[in-house]
Each structure stands twice: as C-alpha cells, then as structure tokens.
C-alpha cells in the first residue's frame, strides 16, 4: 500500500486514477494542476507521484523544475504520465534532466497503471 500523489489538470483522469488505485488499497492525494501539485509536494512526502506534463498555467515541467530546485525533495519519486507523444530523444532528455522514474504515454489502462505503481 502506497501513499500516492496524482497531479493532473483533468479532474476526470485524476478521479479515474484515484478510483483504480484506491480500489487496489492505495492511499491517494490529488492535485488539480501544477500549482496545487507544487504546494503538496513541498508540504508532504509521498511514496509515488503521478505527474501529467501538459497542464495549463503551471506545467509538468514547471513542477519538475521546482522539485529539482528543492534539496528536501531529493528523494521524491515521480512517474510522468503524458497524453502528448514525445519522441524517445525528448523522453531521454527529460529523464536526463529531471529526477524522474520514467515517462509513460497515455492512454493507460487499469492493468498498466497498477503494474507501474507496483513496480516503483
């Protein structure tokens, strides 16, 4: 059982992920958008953070920059889940520049999500 933070601007997706994860016994905290996400990451620590990249105002990259800047968040485990389709070199670049676990492309189904959460 993990304590998981879900950051996505789409409430329905946040809700879906929360439903899936909680049905499997995980504990979820949700953030609607990057701004909320940054605040939550600063105040609490989580076993795993699921982060969307394309968000209005404060994007996933902004969130990653904040995490990178803050030495207290060094141990934060972030899994990026994106709906856009970056090429492998872009993926590689983001992976190199930011302390993240992996980048996973949407759509993502229940099996896959649970698999990923179990893995990290």
């Amino acid at each position: 059982m993990k304590n998981i933070l879900i950051i996505d601007d789409n409430k329905d997706i946040v809700g879906l992920f929360k439903t899936i994860l909680e049905s499997s016994g995980h504990k979820c905290v949700t953030a609607n958008g990057g701004k909320e996400g940054i605040a939550l990451l600063r105040s609490k620590s989580f076993d795993l953070t699921l982060l969307d990249l394309a968000m209005p105002e404060v994007s996933g990259i902004d969130v990653l920059n904040e995490v990178k800047k803050d030495p207290k968040q060094k141990s934060t485990k972030i899994l990026v889940i994106t709906a856009s389709s970056p090429t492998e070199s872009e993926t590689d670049r983001i992976k190199r520049e930011y302390p993240i676990l992996d980048i996973v492309k949407k759509p993502i189904n229940k099996t896959k999500l649970l698999e990923l959460v179990a893995k990290y």
Partner: protein, 587 residues
C-alpha cells in the same frame, strides 16, 4: 527559353535592322561610288592616252600626205640623193622616224637617210604594195626591221614622176616613240598598259616586253567587250585565268587613221583589284570591324541589363525552392527598392503568413491530439472499472453495453493516434529516433502484446528471427510489426491459424517477413493495400475494428527508415508481408 535569350535575340534583331543593315547599305553605296569613280578616272586616263597616241599617229599620216603631195619636192625632177637629203631634214624636224627610204617602182630600195638597206627588195611588203597604188599607208602593227634591229611601224606613200607613180617613200616609226607616250602614265599611276592591234596582237606591254608581237589577246573578254561597245570604252574585272589576272581593266578602242573603220588599236590599262579597290576595300574591312565591335558592345550591354532583371528573379526562385524544400524560415534578400524589391517584400510577407499558419496548424494538431485523447481516458478507464466489477455489480446486459462503450473508446483512441501519425508521415514530419536495436528484441515486444490474444484464439505465433541489429526507431518499428501482426490475427482462422516471423539479410538490408495462413489478398488488390483508408473487405474490417490506416502508416515508417514494404499473397493461400530495414551496429 531563358529570359536572357528572350531579351537578347530581339535586341540583336532590332540592332541589325536599325543599325547594321542601313550602315552596310550606306557604306556599300559609298564603296560602289568610289569604285565607279576609280573606273571613271581610269577611263579618262585611257582616253587621254589613246588620244595622244592617235594624235602622234595622225601626225605621221599627215606628214606623209604633205611630202607626197603632187607639188611636193619628192615629186619633182630632183635626183634620188637630193630627195634623200630632203628626207633627212624631214627625219630631223619630225623627230619621229629612225630612217626614211625611197623604193623604186619594183620595190627595190634605192635610197635611205641612214644609207642602210640599199638594194633590198620590198615588193612583197604591205607598205610597198599599198603605197604603189597611190595610198598613204600606216602599218597596223609593228614589224621587226632587220637593218635597224628594232620594231617599227611603217608609214609609206607614193612618189610621182610626170604624173605617174614612180616609187614609194617609207618612214620607219619606232615603237620606242609609243613607249615614250605611254610611260609617264604608267609611272604615275602604276598601271599596266597593253596596246593591241585590231586582230588582238600585243603591240606593246608595259609588263612583259617579251610578249610583244608574240601574244594575241584577241580572245580576252575585255578585248571583245571593247570591240562590241558603242562608245569604244569598256571595263571589266578579270578572273585569274586572264592574261591580266584579277584586275580591273579599262579598254579603249580608237581608230588610228581617219579613213579606215576596221583599222584601230585597243588600249588596255589595268590594275590589280587589290590596288584598284584598295580604298573601298579598307572601308569594307573597317565596316566589318566596326560591325563586330558594335555587336559585341550591344551583346555585353544587353547581358548586363538582363542580369539586372534575372538576378533578383534567380534569388527569388532560390528562396522559393528553399521554402519548397521545407525551410519555411528562408526569405528573399531584398537588394533594390524597385518593383523587384516590392515583389520580394510581398513574397516574404506571404511566406511569413504561411509560416504563421503552419505553426498554428502544428499547434492545433498537437492540441487536437491531446484534447481528443484526454476525454477518452476516463471513458475507457471507467468502462473498464465497471466491466471488471471494481465499481460494484452490474447486470449482464449493462455489462454488454458497457463493453461496447469500452471497445469504441479504445478504437477511437487508436484512430486518433493513427490519423495523427498518417498526417505526420504525409507532411514528412515523422521524427525518427534512430538507434541500434536487436530485431529479436522488437519482435519479442510485439509477441508480448499479441501472445495472449493469439493463445486465446488458438493461433500459433512463432518468432524465427535471427539476432541481427537494425538501425531503427524502436517504437515506430514496433508499431509496424503490431499493425502487420494484428492484421494477420484478424485474417487467420481461429484454432489452426499460424503466424511466423522470419528475418533474413539481403543486399545489406535486414528483411523481416511475417507469414500467415490467412485468407490471402487478391492480386489486383495488393497494390492498393498500402493506401490510406483502404480495406480489402469493408464488412470484415468493420467487424474486426481496423482503421484502414495501419498499412499506410507502416509504409510511411518503413520508407522513412530507407526501407521497403510489400506483400506476397494469393487468395486463400496466406499472406507474407515483407519489409526491409538498414542494418545497425558496426556491420
């Protein structure tokens, strides 16, 4: 035709019409006039000379008329010696004869002013035969006089005694006298001067004295022209076969004595054409040089002007082709503030607008991709949760309908992804992340996906590939493999369907072949297979859930790797899809 030629050719034609042709006509008219003047001057010279010759000869004839006049001293009772003394005075005063002689009625010379040739018989000589009949005679052509060793022209007349012809008086007029008349003109004008008798015999030649009396120019065209002419003058330019080759020849005919019509001489004065027409020739040469220089100047100026026009056009064309090659950032470099500058500004503005639209389109496409896919995630996600019972119990009918929602949302997600991919391929915007990858690894990933479905349907899915390295974008090639294998799964029979994946190295490329024992594809439909939205059997596709884009996208992906994709199939005998990829690694 290039703009350069289009401008240059009419300009040259105009120049020719406006400048060259009138100049040529003008100068040729001038040359003609100069030539005519030359000829006229020569005719004048020839006439003058001929007049002088006629006068000289006429004077001799007149002298003989005087000395043979019935009451003249020669017809008196004086002795032969006294008559010779008289003739000596005539020779002295006339300064024309070398000697004068007296012949008796039988033609025997009985006296001579130089006392030579006494006793010679001249009874057969023309000068004797004519004079003994009472005529004044003038020799038509010179004759060689043996006693004085010179060419002379004979003049003769009768001597009377008591009213009857008693003998003949002869004067020997040497050719030297004629030379003396001719030579000033020859020296002054550098003419060649030839004098011909009425039968064409060369009486005098300024150039070839040896030919005198031995050559006959009666067949020269100029001779005939002069004889036939009305005013006794003619001119001609001779060819190289003439006695006077390549020359301007002026001929004059003149009766030497007043009484005889057929008794005339022909004077030919000539000059080599190069000398005769040297002034016109120089003019002509200058004209040609002038024309050539003018033409060169015109061509250079026109090319220079044309350059001013073609350079901006070329720059614009380069900018346009640069843009056509996909570099939308290229612009026309405006160098002038004229119409070309305006054109360039409009062109640049147009491209900027296109570029802006293009960027907007790209952003729009990215947004569509994101915005269309995102709502489908909760749709399919919740449907899945309902279906697997995570959200509580549902009736079988609800389950069936929810399954429809789920399937369709997945299909729509795939379709959106395929449309975006097809569009990228069409625009040549497909970005490849090339890296070395093991074929076996990619095939394994695909089999991992399709293995469970195949197993469910009793289809054998086997990997017979070798462990070779290819240079590829792994995700994209996986997409190709997935497309081909998912197609194969759709069309092989359940329970005894087989799909095998093989690899081979051919011509330095790695060829992957996916073989199935499905329904096959009719020959006539194989070519259309890789077209967008093409479905061999529409009803079947609807049932099997394809988008009709898979193979078109696969072809785009393979071709952007520098490979090829094709099928081998026969209806009801299965299908093999082959595609090639470049080898990777150090090989």
């Amino acid at each position: 035709m290039k703009v350069r030629a289009k401008i240059l050719i009419p300009t040259l034609i105009l120049c020719t019409l406006a400048v060259v042709i009138p100049s040529v006509i003008g100068v040729y008219t001038m040359i003609q006039a100069l030539e005519n003047e030359d000829i006229l001057a020569m005719k004048k010279d020839a006439n003058n000379l001929m007049t002088n010759l006629s006068i000289a000869i006429s004077r001799r004839v007149a002298e003989f008329e005087v000395i043979t006049y019935p009451t003249a001293y020669l017809n008196s009772q004086a002795t032969t010696d006294e008559k010779i003394d008289f003739l000596k005075n005539v020779v002295k005063s006339s300064k024309s004869y070398i000697t004068m002689s007296i012949f008796d009625v039988n033609g025997i010379e009985i006296g001579d002013t130089m006392n030579i040739g006494i006793g010679n018989d001249a009874s057969n000589e023309e000068f004797f035969k004519q004079a003994i009949t009472g005529k004044i005679y003038r020799g038509d052509k010179p004759e060689f006089s043996a006693p004085i060793q010179k060419h002379v022209i004979y003049f003769s007349g009768p001597i009377y005694k008591d009213g009857k012809i008693d003998g003949v008086v002869v004067g020997r007029y040497p050719l030297d006298r004629i030379y003396r008349l001719i030579s000033p003109l020859q020296e002054e004008r550098l003419f060649q001067i030839n004098l011909l008798s009425s039968d064409g015999t060369l009486i005098y030649s300024s150039a070839n004295k040896k030919d005198i009396l031995s050559k006959n120019l009666g067949s020269e065209p100029i001779f005939e022209n002069v004889i036939d002419s009305n005013n006794n003058v003619a001119h001609q330019i001779s060819d190289e076969k003439s006695y006077l080759p390549n020359s301007l020849i002026v001929g004059v005919k003149s009766p030497i004595s007043q009484d005889s019509g057929s008794d005339y001489w022909v004077l030919l004065i000539s000059r080599h054409v190069d000398d005769a027409f040297s002034v016109p020739q120089t003019l002509q040469n200058q004209l040609i040089i002038f024309g050539a220089i003018l033409t060169v100047i015109v061509i250079i100026s026109v090319l220079f002007v044309v350059q001013k026009f073609t350079d901006p056009i070329r720059d614009l064309r380069n900018a346009a082709s640069n843009i056509a090659n996909g570099n939308l950032g290229a612009r026309y470099n405006i160098k002038s503030n004229d119409e070309f500058g305006d054109l360039g500004r409009s062109f640049n503005a147009m491209i900027s607008a296109i570029q802006k639209t293009n960027i907007e389109k790209e952003e729009f496409a990215a947004m569509v991709s994101h915005e269309l896919k995102t709502p489908l995630i909760p749709i399919s996600g919740y449907a899945e949760l309902f279906l697997d019972g995570s959200l509580g119990q549902i009736t079988p009918e609800q389950k069936e309908k929810l399954h429809i929602i789920y399937e369709n949302s997945i299909r729509l997600t795939n379709l959106i992804q395929d449309i975006l991919d097809a569009r990228k391929i069409e625009l040549g915007k497909l970005k490849l992340d090339l890296r070395d990858e093991s074929v076996k690894e990619v095939v394994k990933r695909s089999i991992d996906i399709f293995g469970p479905i195949a197993q469910q349907r009793g289809i054998t899915l086997s990997d017979n590939t070798e462990d070779v390295i290819v240079r590829c974008d792994t995700d994209r090639i996986l997409q190709v493999l997935n497309n081909i294998i998912s197609n194969a799964i759709k069309f092989v029979p359940t329970q005894y369907g087989t799909i095998s994946i093989n690899s081979r190295i051919e011509n330095g490329l790695v060829m992957l072949s996916i073989k199935d024992n499905g329904i096959g594809i009719p020959k006539e439909k194989q070519d259309d297979l890789f077209k967008k939205f093409y479905q061999v059997d529409k009803t079947l596709t609807r049932k099997s859930g394809g988008t009709g884009l898979g193979l078109a996208i696969s072809r785009g992906i393979v071709e952007s790797h520098g490979g090829k994709i094709w099928v081998e199939s026969e209806e009801n005998h299965g299908t093999v899809v082959h595609f090639t990829l470049p080898r990777g690694g150090k090989n």
